[in-house]
């Protein structure tokens, strides 16, 4: 029995990073907010780079509650999409070069999203990670945690339900 040699590390990284970049950079609203994603294996961390336009309370100052909601929702949607394309990407069924802003997989649609504000968002970068708790054929449930300086001190968390993109469109 002959085993295929493992792929060179750079090939793997290039493929995964290209797919993630196409997914994230195809969404104008993520560019507007200033959200980028870092990847370790299949784990994603969303980064919201601080900007004055994200402020909702200039007196404190604090991040806008809507910015926090939008950031966590974006983290959930990209996290869920990423988990959906991961297997196809790794088996070669999906070629990352085919992922252009015009040919992205359809994103899941938000059914509902509940944000729990735990403390004021400080005027600095924020981070978030999504955990897909249930991913069915039609529906998914995703939990997101957001933090700033300390990973253990969340400033917000959220849970949302999503309608899966249909396979054939």
């Amino acid at each position: 029995m002959t085993r295929r040699p493992p792929e060179p590390v750079q090939v793997i990284k290039q493929r995964r990073d290209a797919a993630l970049s196409a997914l994230v950079h195809g969404v104008p609203y993520l560019q507007f907010l200033g959200v980028e994603f870092e990847r370790r294996g299949d784990e994603l961390t969303a980064i919201l780079t601080y900007d004055d336009k994200l402020i909702g309370n200039p007196m404190l100052p604090a991040l806008h509650g809507g910015v926090t909601a939008a950031f966590l929702e974006a983290t959930a949607i990209i996290g869920l999409s990423w988990s959906l394309i991961w297997d196809d990407l790794e088996t070669g069924a999906l070629d990352p070069r085919s992922l252009t802003p015009d040919a992205l997989p359809r994103l899941p649609k938000t059914i509902d999203f509940t944000v729990d504000y735990l403390r004021a968002g400080l005027p600095r970068d924020a981070y978030a990670r999504a955990r897909v708790n249930r991913s069915g054929r039609r529906y998914a449930s995703v939990h997101v945690e957001g933090w700033q300086d300390n990973r253990a001190r969340l400033f917000a968390q959220a849970t949302g339900h999503f309608l899966m993109p249909s396979r054939d469109d």
Partner: protein, 145 residues
């Protein structure tokens, strides 16, 4: 809320950096009710294939509108912050159309305000999204509690 106070509140909301970034406009404000709209903007697209505005941008509009409804409540809060916000998305907003949110602060306790809100595009019969939220309510210092 008298005219002067409403004018100040309107300016205050429109001066919030993120509200300015989304070009929000206060349409109506007073007695625990607020209506705020924002124009369609290609920078806010969440689905590049359809050109539909991101749910996150609609959330930001609903959150602003909810906070404005709390601030305009007759209890005259000194400040407010969102504790919890749940948004239900009924349908995609039609690309190119202005989105308007209407929020009502329907109950306040000494320290919490309860809000419900609806977001519509130009089809006012079929909401794009609805929301319910709980907001903190800071009473003015020296005021009645």
């Amino acid at each position: 809320m008298d005219q002067d106070k409403a004018g100040i509140a309107r300016q205050f909301i429109q001066a919030i950096p993120h509200s300015r970034a989304l070009n929000m406009r206060v349409e109506l404000l007073g007695a625990g009710m607020a209506e705020i709209s924002m124009p369609y903007d290609e920078r806010l697209i969440g689905d590049p294939k359809s050109g539909v505005i991101s749910g996150g941008a609609v959330s930001a509009l609903m959150d602003t509108c909810g906070g404005a409804a709390v601030m305009s409540h007759p209890a005259a809060p000194a400040s407010t912050a969102t504790l919890d916000l749940r948004i239900d998305y009924m349908r995609a907003a039609t690309p190119g159309q202005r989105i308007t949110a209407r929020a009502e602060c329907y109950h306040v306790t000494r320290s919490v305000a309860f809000v419900r809100a609806t977001a519509m595009d130009e089809d006012h019969e079929n909401p794009v999204a609805t929301a319910t939220g709980a907001f903190t309510l800071e009473r003015p210092k020296g005021g009645t509690t």
